[in-house]
Symmetry: C2
Subunit: 609 residues, 2 copies
């Protein structure tokens, strides 16, 4: 690897390539459930019984003094897979949870000649999926935003309300001797004491939150993305021309929802893009996002000059018919902004942004996504595809952060937001990228200032460039910070970022780093009930209820494995291998605590407002 | 593991225990050098030639346009091990770099009857170490603080000045076409444009920085801990009663300095504490810290009631004679503060804090470390042992953060700081622990308000409790933030925290997470030259100089391995497996950049003051 000019040898695939595909095939065929050790599936029922929201419940052992510990509910977006009794069959896909809700609204109909049918004919690896394409009736806009503005509370909104309010309800039942939650700092967020369906409707109507739910993706459970709700996490999957297969991508999907992805983006740029997406959509309980320009470019065999609005439009319709819940559209990469990137260290690092910048220059014309933005909105309104306005000019290194190109595009995204809203299309705004710590907050304040309160959705940001192989950590730091400042969804970065396509294990590592960041942000904002799980785990830790500690943690399997690796198999002790029996502070402290419990309660020191 | 009351079976060691020890033995016997791929050792010379500061230099390939890229110097505390030509022999230890400097000051003498000699007789596993114990001449205080106050610039101060100024010097030579560094936000830090020995002296004299350098640890290279210098990282090693051996601890030491630990704490609580420390000190190029109460408790077989000042005093002298550079002393755990912890979820989680709280209650007397603090300072002044005032009442979960107990102790540590300074003893202050994001800054402001500018040294903090197995990430987030706010040194947390004793790989994972956090803080504070490495790596990334990118990264081996895992062995391409050839934004962007370089330079958007 001493010479940087050798021509690519992409045909000579590593020997392990076929093995990985076969292993993935076995995994998804054998896959039945993704339930976590120590958790059971429960359902939160709406008052009228029409909506049942799945969540995980961790039941706890009693304390040494015999007192009981209330079970802890955990937000769970793994869908049917999170039910230990579920028998998954990925070749048939998930049950269409939302089908009746969508039909009952009577504003859509089945499409007799779907564009996507053409693509399906090419399909060598189609499953036995029964997917009938829906589209809006003439004059109808079956979007959650249209319903919200009309004052209609949908079943999806009820579902979301129960889900987001879960921890609040649990906190009210929790033992009163648990420490109260700290006062949060929300930087202007409006987080309510209780969340009901009307609050959900109002936030969507105001454009402050989106509920991505394509009428052609009835398998997906409703979830909401907005500053006044829990911070969400997205996992990127998808193949590339030199790596992965449909089997591996379905495996990553199952792995993503198991480890807590709230949404998944299929960023496939390789072969079988349509079929890969079909397998992902039919098996995904979470909303699926895409970057349609990737498939459009694949259709012209990577020749950017051949890209056209017509080709792109057909790709949008094809994907909308399949059920993609949100599209990343790089409509803010304007011809005039491109020169602003000329003196950057890393130029344009967004794939979509680079493609469109090159197209603008080859044709010496304005970005066709900007020119045809109204038509894009008309398509999205027919299927309730949400828009994720892409930051094609985001910085690719800390040096390029917060520059003129980045903020010029951001202001344009603000203008486009108003256009999308005029068509009742839900919108969120994408953000960077690479930003040093001291410049992170400016990204949030600029977005709030120019994008009219639409939700922000950032990739990290990475707060340094020197950690390839560990960028899930470098970006998790920036993600926690911007989530606290008000970012609504965090797009994960895996350890393979900048180096290669993530595999199943990378997906897990990226997700856990981001679940930490998102939860840290919820705690910092003072989201009611967010601290419940921390308090329960810490109490279990202090009382040596090791199993409870493992079951309450983000990754029970790893926590238990690390503990047991250092102590005899099956040992269950009042200490761990870190300190041993005589130096366990918590053990030493039991007597101290016992003898001082008669003392007056500790006052809480002043906290920052 | 279903029952939490089983009695410990700590005698039944896992089968792999002996194998691990044997593997470690082989590693340290064969160990010769810790040089990194793609780096070479260079030395920065002082004007008078008396001081030569080792550092790493990464030389870079030319850019595609043929222009050269300046080599990048990297701060390197791996000592002689970082020199590819060095032939280490851990049974003999490192050369005594500082021996002549110490002798030349003529304020110390060799000790004829060292207390530590008694311990050495017990030593079953002593190496061939030639360590002659030094102590101060009567009436002398051979501490860097005493010298600094007397206006003396020591060789140690010159060494530190060259080291801390390295990136500044390099930046001035760097190619002018590199992006300028962003304006930092220092929250009141006073970071100079240039660092010279007089600045180092002045910072030490003011108590704002410490240079931990026991006269009995001449093997250690000088380094400085202070808010106006680069943020440092500490790695904790040390055995426990149920895990590890001397060989494994020496292996962890070598691993720690290879991955960038600025100081190492030996927290051994198991067997052979004295001998383990001897092996660590004689082979460590970085300052070594300890918590002497651990060895004192071991001497009374874990019976807290039997602890006494006399026993503790002799332990301090024994360790000072061996060469320990800083002591963690929990002198702020006052009897009256203990009741303030009674209603915490996790009580007292500091091992030292828990031991002393129990002692206070068993004897119904004030903490003997507080009562005898002046005598502790007198001992430290004789050997230039720095004090790290321990936070025995730090919170062990987010719920307990920033409470009355924690801040009461912090104010006491501020009082003790003034006493230590009266004896010319260098001091830093330890901090938490577990703190949610919105309460992190209050820890820094309280410390600044009550501890007279003495350096802050925190353990993380973890910003959530729900990530056992991944606490290096949860705490790395808090560490980056508090480092930015002004914390001078970050004590790492490994993936095994709360679960077991870290092994070699855990040490590496913890260190890399903390090098990311410390560097992110340096960037955010606007430390001159800090962004040089980021910019060079990003430029290499943009120009597909893969080897340069790997060599500039925190872990060149892992970055290269991840890249190669996804592409044919030895392939060297203008893309990676993440995007493949047609979707590489940086490749697409080359043409865009080329055609726009005639454009006016991009203005930098406004940044927060």
């Amino acid at each position: 690897m001493s010479d940087c000019t050798t021509t690519p040898k992409i045909n000579a695939a590593p020997a392990s390539r076929r093995d990985k595909r076969e292993a993935a095939r076995r995994y998804i065929v054998d896959f039945k459930t993704a339930a976590h050790t120590g958790s059971r599936r429960i359902y939160l029922q709406s008052a009228d019984g029409t909506v049942a929201v799945p969540c995980r419940e961790v039941s706890l052992h009693p304390s040494p003094d015999g007192s009981n510990n209330a079970p802890v509910p955990i937000y769970d977006c793994s869908g049917p897979y999170g039910d230990a009794d579920y028998q998954a069959d990925v070749s048939r896909g998930l049950p269409p949870l939302r089908a009746d809700w969508i039909a009952a609204r009577q504003d859509t109909t089945f499409c007799s000649t779907p564009l996507s049918a053409l693509a399906v004919e090419l399909d060598a690896q189609q499953g036995q999926f029964q997917h009938q394409v829906r589209q809006a009736l003439p004059g109808c806009r079956p979007t959650q935003l249209a319903y919200a503005r009309a004052g209609i509370i949908t079943a999806e909104m009820q579902f979301v309300a129960l889900r987001e309010n879960m921890a609040r309800a649990a906190q009210q039942q929790a033992a009163s001797d648990l420490q109260p939650q700290h006062t949060g700092e929300g930087f202007g967020a409006g987080i309510p004491a209780q969340i009901d369906a009307e609050f959900v409707r109002a936030e969507i109507a105001a454009g402050r939150a989106i509920l991505p739910a394509n009428i052609n993706h009835p398998e997906a459970e409703p979830m909401i993305i907005g500053r006044n709700f829990l911070v969400k996490v997205n996992a990127n999957i998808g193949n590339s021309a030199v790596s992965s297969s449909i089997e591996e991508e379905v495996e990553k999907l199952l792995w993503s929802v198991r480890w807590g992805a709230d949404t998944v983006m299929d960023l496939s740029t390789g072969r079988h893009i349509h079929q890969t997406r079909e397998w992902i959509l039919r098996n995904s309980p979470v909303p699926i996002g895409t970057v349609p320009i990737y498939q459009a470019l694949e259709k012209v065999r990577g020749d950017v000059e051949k890209l056209s609005w017509e080709l792109y439009r057909d790709t949008l319709i094809e994907q909308a018919e399949q059920g993609v819940d949100y599209f990343t559209i790089h409509a803010g990469v304007l011809k005039d902004f491109i020169p602003l990137t000329a003196r950057r260290i890393t130029g344009i690092v967004s794939r979509g942004g680079a493609i469109l910048a090159q197209w603008c220059q080859l044709h010496d014309r304005e970005n066709f996504l900007y020119q045809h933005f109204a038509e894009i909105c008309q398509i999205c309104a027919q299927y309730d595809v949400s828009l994720s306005l892409g930051d094609g000019l985001r910085p690719g290194c800390v040096a390029d952060a917060n520059d003129a190109a980045q903020f010029a595009e951001l202001r344009t995204l603000g203008e486009l937001t108003k256009i999308a809203w005029a068509y009742d299309v839900q919108v969120m705004i994408e953000g960077p990228g690479h930003v040093p710590l001291q410049l992170v907050q400016a990204n949030m304040t600029e977005q709030l200032a120019h994008c009219h309160g639409a939700p922000f959705y950032t990739l990290g940001p990475l707060i340094t460039d020197i950690s390839p192989g560990y960028d899930h950590i470098a970006s998790g730091i920036g993600a926690a910070l911007i989530g606290w400042f008000g970012c609504a969804m965090l797009c994960y970065v895996t350890p393979k970022e900048h180096l290669g396509l993530p595999d199943k294990e990378d997906v897990k590592q990226g997700l856990i780093a981001y679940k930490i960041a998102a939860h840290a942000a919820d705690l910092a904002k003072g989201h009611p009930g967010a601290q419940l799980r921390d308090n329960a785990l810490s109490k279990a830790r202090y009382e040596f209820r090791w199993l409870d500690q493992f079951h309450l943690s983000l990754d029970p399997d790893t926590a238990k494995a690390y503990y047991q690796a250092a102590l005899p198999e099956g040992a269950d002790t009042e200490f761990c291998a870190m300190c041993g029996p005589k130096f366990c502070s918590m053990k030493l402290n039991q007597s101290v605590k016992a003898s001082t419990l008669s003392a007056p309660p500790a006052e809480r020191a002043n906290e920052p407002a």
